[in-house]
């Protein structure tokens, strides 16, 4: 603590520096040579991992924010409040990083604002653009109390408290809309997307699986925070989320197979094709943690719980990549493997997310104990403390 000028060297910091350096170089190449110079995209395969991973997975993994806001403040299950603020922060950072990734993928990033002024209500992408813009603003406001508390700004805090309930409802609705709409993007390609993934109910699956990913991400993030900040894991809460997660996974898997059966494409599973194996991988990565999480012993064991959360996250990522890449390849008549620069940008964005979360969590009241300690230590005036006890803090 005292007089240290250089940050301590750790393996994680070294990895971070390497990833950021590679990302910076890839960014330079992207600006200098255009999309063709840094990606393996083509006229036959115009969307790669920047869409399939950075955008589709990024938005889904940030779904913990709206899920917990709904649970804590709309359904009033107050015991989950201690993990609400970190979940909102994860979501907010997630969306900011998604927009950052979008700037890499757009051919003309300087025109990213165009959908806001040039309307086409028939376009799913238009709806997603509006929802993501509005919801990122909502998340900024939902996270703002942490910043205002730290700075001791009470006027804006009162103001945010006043609008908090409508704001949360708007946030949940915007999330419902665009989480499902990311699936609707693919409704228009019935002849391109492979039968194991194309279904008219794709938006419903995207919504359900995003909630699963959001819950898994919240558990994942709680576990990491507990290690990073030497706090105890809020095990009862994480275990509670895990139980809900197991039930949602069961629902998701059940309706997915029901849909395959209804559409009469179960036979596709007998074909020895890449699609079949990657579909299998996706299902296994969701089914195994589902079975495990139904066991109390697993839910109440931090390491096993964490392992299950990671599996769900990977299963979710596999699903999104299957929809956006695996399932689109056969019809495109080409084979897409991302170039190193695409991967470098993606990894740099992930690393940035972890680092910024850590820094914010260190300096702002994100975790309940710290938050309370500071309040009782007199950093916040008595009036504020009382208000916090009486009314649930607006959003976080």
């Amino acid at each position: 603590m005292s007089g240290r000028t250089l940050p301590r060297f750790t393996i994680w910091r070294a990895i971070f520096v390497v990833l950021m350096a590679a990302g910076a170089y890839a960014t330079y190449l992207r600006v200098r040579y255009g999309l063709g110079g840094v990606t393996n995209l083509s006229d036959q395969f115009p969307w790669g991992i920047w869409i399939g991973f950075d955008i589709l997975c990024g938005v889904g993994l940030a779904a913990g924010g709206f899920t917990l806001v709904a649970v804590v403040h709309i359904f009033n299950v107050e015991r989950y409040k201690p993990i609400l603020r970190p979940a909102v922060l994860t979501a907010f950072l997630g969306y900011v990083l998604v927009v950052l990734a979008l700037l890499f993928d757009l051919g003309r990033p300087d025109r990213v604002w165009h959908p806001l002024v040039m309307w086409n209500p028939h376009s799913v992408m238009f709806e997603v653009a509006w929802c993501v813009t509005l919801y990122t603003s909502v998340l900024a406001l939902e996270f703002a109390p942490a910043v205002f508390e730290k700075l001791g700004w009470h006027k804006p805090l009162d103001w945010l408290k006043f609008i908090s309930v409508p704001l949360m409802i708007v946030g949940v609705i915007l999330s419902t809309l665009h989480q499902s709409s990311l699936g609707s993007l693919y409704l228009i390609v019935p002849y391109k997307l492979y039968g194991l993934w194309y279904t008219p109910v794709l938006p419903v699956f995207f919504f359900l699986s995003a909630i699963c990913a959001g819950l898994a991400m919240t558990i994942f993030e709680s576990w990491h925070s507990s290690r990073a900040f030497g706090r105890a894991l809020e095990l009862p809460l994480a275990a509670g989320l895990a139980r809900v997660l197991a039930m949602l996974l069961m629902t998701l898997l059940f309706v997915r197979f029901l849909d395959l059966e209804q559409r009469g494409v179960l036979g596709l599973l007998r074909l020895n094709r890449t699609e079949t194996w990657l579909f299998g991988l996706e299902i296994v990565l969701l089914a195994v943690p589902m079975v495990l999480l139904f066991r109390r012993r697993v839910r109440w064991n931090p390491a096993k719980l964490y392992g299950c959360a990671v599996m769900v996250i990977f299963g979710f990522v596999a699903n999104r990549l299957n929809v956006s890449i695996t399932g689109m390849e056969a019809a495109s008549g080409t084979h897409y493997v991302p170039r190193w620069t695409e991967i470098a940008v993606t990894l740099a964005i992930i690393a940035l997310g972890f680092a910024v979360f850590r820094v914010i969590a260190q300096y702002f009241p994100i975790f309940e104990e710290r938050h309370r300690d500071e309040a009782s230590a007199g950093q916040a005036p008595a009036r504020e403390t009382r208000a916090n006890e009486r009314v649930p803090a607006p959003i976080g």
């Binding site: 995209l41 009033n76 025109r111 028939h122 799913v124 309930v165 993007l185």
Partner: protein, 248 residues
């Protein structure tokens, strides 16, 4: 009056005069190397393809209800009343959803440009507005590509099918596929044998997403009321519990 292109594969000799005329009209370089390419690309907006002894021609189909225009978040693609689907590069932000969504895989991208645009055939919109035929139709030496009023060309196509039933596969491609297109094909063999997609629905594809987007206002209104109601009930329950707790 809607303008249409009729391409008759049985009359095509594969001379690629249409390719050359198209490149000239767009001020794109055209040489033997480009002529040898069979794919659409940012420097080749129409292409003659060979399937055994048959030829086929790739170009924008100018759908009656274009998927590209429906998916474009900024409305850069528009179906004109004249028939052509035109592209406004000033609006385009380069999301490339039109490329992903196009059932005919027509829009192509300037991948190596720092300020890239989507490119595709616009059926010589400027020429057609001035009453002139498309550059490709004007250049075609055999009449395989002709351009004119849609109803007149459909009648002409039917006349050819009836006149030489043995020479033609008895269908016109483009009448029904994805709700009809402004480019029609005649062929000696079934259309999939000259590289045309025959697994497409007859219904315009934009209906698939519109059905979902239509529900957005309902989700917003029902959702707000529902969530507001749930909030009110759960909150009220807590208030009552607290008040009763206070009395005891």
């Amino acid at each position: 009056m809607s303008r249409t292109i009729l391409y008759d594969s049985t009359m095509c000799i594969g001379c690629k005069a249409c390719e050359g005329a198209c490149a000239e009209r767009w001020h794109l370089p055209y040489d033997d190397k480009v002529a040898a390419e069979t794919r659409l690309s940012a420097h080749k907006l129409t292409a003659i393809q060979t399937f055994g002894e048959h030829f086929s021609r790739r170009l924008c189909q100018h759908c009656a209800v274009p998927t590209c225009a429906s998916v474009c978040p900024v409305g850069a693609m528009q179906k004109t009343s004249l028939g052509p689907v035109v592209y406004d590069a000033q609006k385009c932000m380069g999301c490339r959803y039109c490329m992903t969504a196009c059932p005919f895989q027509v829009p192509v991208y300037e991948w190596n440009s720092r300020l890239p645009k989507v490119r595709k055939c616009d059926m010589c919109y400027d020429r057609q507005r001035a009453g002139k035929p498309t550059a490709c139709a004007e250049a075609c030496p055999t009449g395989a590509t002709t351009c004119g009023d849609r109803d007149a060309l459909i009648a002409e196509a039917r006349r050819r099918l009836a006149a030489k039933p043995g020479d033609y596969y008895q269908h016109i491609y483009g009448l029904e596929v994805v709700g009809g297109t402004s480019v029609l094909y005649l062929s000696a063999v079934p259309f999939e044998q000259i590289g045309l997609r025959t697994n497409l629905p007859q219904q315009p594809l934009p209906m698939l997403t519109w059905r979902v987007l239509e529900a957005v206002p309902d989700v917003v209104s029902v959702g707000s009321v529902l969530l507001g109601g749930i909030w009110w009930i759960t909150n009220r329950r807590d208030e009552v519990a607290r008040a009763e707790g206070g009395k005891k």
